[in-house]
Amino acid sequence: MPLDLLDLSTQVRQMGEQLARRRADEQHRLELLDAMLADYRDRWEELADLAETVTERVAVPTGPLDERVPPDVRPPRYTALATDGAEIDPDRHGGSGEFYLINVGRVRIPYGQPERDVELRSVSSLGYTDEDLFIVDPRDPRRQVPMRDRHLDALRTVEELRALADLAESEVGARNIRAEDASSGQEVSVRKATAAQSAPAIALVDGTLLFSVLEERPRDFLRTRFYTDFVHQLERLRRAHVPVAAYASRSRGIDLIHLFRAVCGSTPLVCEVCSGAHACAMRGLNDAQLLGRWLDRWDRTGLFRVRSNVHDPYYGGHRVYFFLVNTGDEIARVEIPEWVARDQASVALVHAILVDQCAKGFGYPAVLARADDRAVISLGDRDVLDTLVQQELARQGVVARPSAKLSRKQVRTV
Amino acid sequence: MTGRLGLLVAGSVAEGLSARLDPAVPIEDVRLGKFVKIVGQKYEYFCLVTDVQLDSANNDVLRDPPGDPNKIDAFLRQVLSGTTTYALVKLKPELMLANLAADMQFEDADMVPRPARTIPPHFSNVSDATLADFERVFGRDDGKNHFQIGQPIDMDVPVCVDLRRFVERSNGIFGKSGTGKSFLTRLILCGVIKASAAVNLIFDMHSEYGWSAKNEEGTEVKGLSQLFGGRVAVYTLDMESSRGRGVKPAGEIKIALREISVADIALLQDELRLHRTAVESAALCEDKLGDDWVARLLDMNGEELTDFANLEGGNHASLSALRSKLRLIDRLPFVERSLERSTLDQVIAQLERGQHVVLEFGRQRNLLAYILATNVITRRLHELWVKKTERYWNTKDEADRPRPLMITIEEAHKFLNSEAARQTTFGTIARELRKFYVTLLVVDQRPSGIDAEVLSQIGTRITCQLNDERDIDAIFTGVSGGSHLRTVLATLDSREQALVLGHAVPMPMMVRTRKYDPLFYAAIGGDSAEVVLARSRRYEEIFGDE
């Protein structure tokens, strides 16, 4: 029990006092910002133009800032698809060998369709070949980056979406079979449409569609590698006509904040709003705090496009839009690719289904929670894997030696 | 109905054994006096049930018994019965016998039932006795030495008495009035007669043994002479009465006055309502007047009496009273002044020959007549038998051995109360234990009236129901270990049940008495059962169903 609790408690108290002060200050600032929002409510096109000129990543309004959309009634029958992932890093400290594990939870829950099965699966894959363990620069094979840490995260993110696309394709395939069984003699397109109407599907991931890939040098090969793959999966989803969305709980996104910062140049002295305060009123605030306060429960904001110089070149027609939604407990941020954003019906479907999912999931989409459950790798699971690997190595005659630090982590010496 | 009853769980030699009844055996099936067998490791023990108790393994049950009429309580009662609540049966071990199934060598003595000296171990099996067990203990009715007297209360097997041992002692048949003593007496007599175990002289006060009589339901039952024909002769003290009943007596008995002794008078004190001084007076008379003293006293007139009194120092008033009472005797029809020939000699001759004699009293069934005649005649017989015995002892010639004589008397307490016992022949006979080949069969409803010493000499007691505590005590006088059986005795049915204990049975036994009916007649008389039944059916056809 190495924490010095006695000392910490003093610090925690001090922190508490600080937090209280900060809250109060926040409230004040938000009131100032409300005024600003009111001012810019209808000047959204002005803001949109401004956004194109900013280099940082900002949100681009597509309609009046105070747009609030209540959800449609949820469809009586729909299918929710979701994936989530987790990984085990190649253990520098362990001696089991070089490999990584990516575990993707795949979930399909058909609602209002008692004849269909629920799928809750985990797909685990080991990365151990050279191609797996190293990302090679296609232009210069000598340039290799080990697949670990942030890069492994990125890989995981791509695998999550790949699995989601798999789910979507098999969902559509199954649906078509059912539709064929149900209604023969109709036009194919009509059949497909009927099928889609009868039980629409949406695909969900947790977090963001705009994941980051660290590049050591500009225009390196890593982003190409990951984003291309990622976008390919988005395309598969599009072809399958299954709207996809990323759900970020208690969003801390600041894309809109950045936009307003661009407006005032982040100089409080000249800012009408801040009127000479020693810091920008928006300091420390996020989009949810800015926009979300006036959302009724289950309402969403209007759509905002994300203008990202990093992502846009790769994403093309899958450029990311987002809206904020009030789940009652928090403000969540939902990101959708452009082909979903442009289809009002799809947006409404995503919104309505997310509302139902959050209701079932006590504030978080139930299907995503299930996917997360299936993805999580417990300590026990790790031990099992280690044991498996060690047994195999032993069979092969390879002795594994743990690093000194890891050994010490496992057994405290006195 | 033979089967296991339960397990031995406690007990001692002194206080009796306790067995726990198996749950499957209904408590109500186990009655006092039931004959059971306990199989120990080495021996088998034959016991009587002397008590049945309720007990429970847990006192909580009794504090909170499931007594409601609802289903649940009914179910509880069913479950608890025999397990938590159970019956304990108290047993008195009477006899032990080698357990042939045991893997050991036995001495010869172990092969016959002997009084139980030890007890079986815990958890020994307790079961109904089987027919084989009864036969081992009581013997089979073979028409010779063993005679079936009845059956156990709940089984259909014979219980036999050993007649040889029966006649080795004086015996008693007891019970309240109306409990069937006379039937029991008939049974015993038939057995003795059939086996020729002894020659019988029966003083038949109510004239019921010799010829037919009516039982309580009014049915006629056969008499001894009907059953045994020429082997039984009926004599009477009242020829007219006998003839009137269709009896053909072999002779009429008369008693001469000179046969009456002082002892007889003493015995008749109550009946004659004599003062004690009367006996002294009688003694005086006998002493002074000789053998004919009774006649001579009776013939004295008032003056002569006074003179005599003065002369001999007697009490005039007493003598006078004596004389007037003696007149009562004199007036008895069967009493004669003198006899030329005594029909008694005829009786004696027949007895010596082995013929049994029933002496009817006809209308002379009052106590005075009965006591007088019985005492006088018995005295004579006894004297005779003593002489014969002494002669036999001298000659040691088997031909001289006297026949065993069994004398049946009723109202025995009149003859054998403490006072009388000292003075009468009967007391002597009882005490002599057949030294002189004479025994008594006493029939009585007041055994407590019999002298204790005499009682203790009574070999076999067959008892019907008794209520009086003192009478019950009397039954067990001189019998060891009888106290266990008191409860048994007290619960006998008023008729048809008896307790047999003593010399002629290896262990006390409670029985349903054998019926004295045509089937019995057949068994005794040698007629087949079918013939007898057919005969009785014809009788019914002719005379109607009585």
Partner: protein, 210 residues
């Protein structure tokens, strides 16, 4: 309702062993909420020769993951079965398990009412015992009552009463069996009359004909 994809279900098949020890085994029921009744007899093989008999002593429905807990899902008029309709994923994250106390075993032809030499095997199928088996087992003796009375962490008296009701009904012996069992219990519990009567009272279902 699917059974993990098992299309045809053998009669009597009711679960699969997920934990096993000498004195008890834990099985997951084939279907949610479809465990055999409390007090019922179940059987499972320990290997080809040995069949273990158990009495269901505890039935539980909970999340499959050890950390997960069920929380209230009803709202408005969404209650009871509608909750399952609204959340079709529920049966996949819940499982019904039942714990059975081992009361005996057969090896070859002999039935024994004491603990077996080996426990049931993991992942082997658990069957409810057919009435004939129950009858044979209980005819052999009632020594297993002791195991039910003294097991820890089960409601012993309720369990025994449930088992007795079950046997009486399954074998059709009804009241006759209850009386026989009652007597056996009276011996075991002779020192505790209150406990005996409490159990016996529970053996008769209300409205049963005696």
């Amino acid at each position: 309702m699917s059974h993990n994809g098992i299309a045809h279900v053998e009669p009597g098949l009711t679960g699969e062993v997920v934990e096993a020890s000498t004195s008890e085994f834990l099985a997951q029921a084939l279907e949610l909420d479809a465990a055999p009744p409390f007090g019922a007899f179940v059987e499972v093989a320990a290997d080809d020769a040995l069949t273990v008999y158990g009495v269901v002593a505890h039935v539980q429905t909970a999340g499959i993951d050890p950390g997960s807990r069920a929380i209230m899902r009803g709202h408005g008029d969404v209650r009871d079965e509608r909750i399952y309709q609204e959340n079709p994923d529920l049966p996949l994250v819940l499982r019904t398990t039942f714990r059975a106390l081992v009361v005996g075993f057969t090896e070859g032809q002999e039935i024994h009412q004491f603990l077996p030499p080996r426990p049931a095997r993991l992942h082997y199928s658990v069957f409810t015992c057919p009435p004939l088996t129950v009858r044979r087992f209980t005819r052999e003796g009632l020594e297993f009552f002791q195991a039910l009375l003294t097991a820890s962490e089960v409601p012993n008296d309720e369990l025994l009463a449930a088992n007795l009701r079950y046997i009486a009904a399954e074998t059709g012996e009804g009241q006759a069996f209850l009386e026989r069992a009652g007597r056996e219990l009276a011996q075991l519990l002779r020192a505790d009359y209150a406990r005996l009567t409490a159990i016996l009272r529970r053996c008769l279902a209300p409205g049963e004909t005696v």
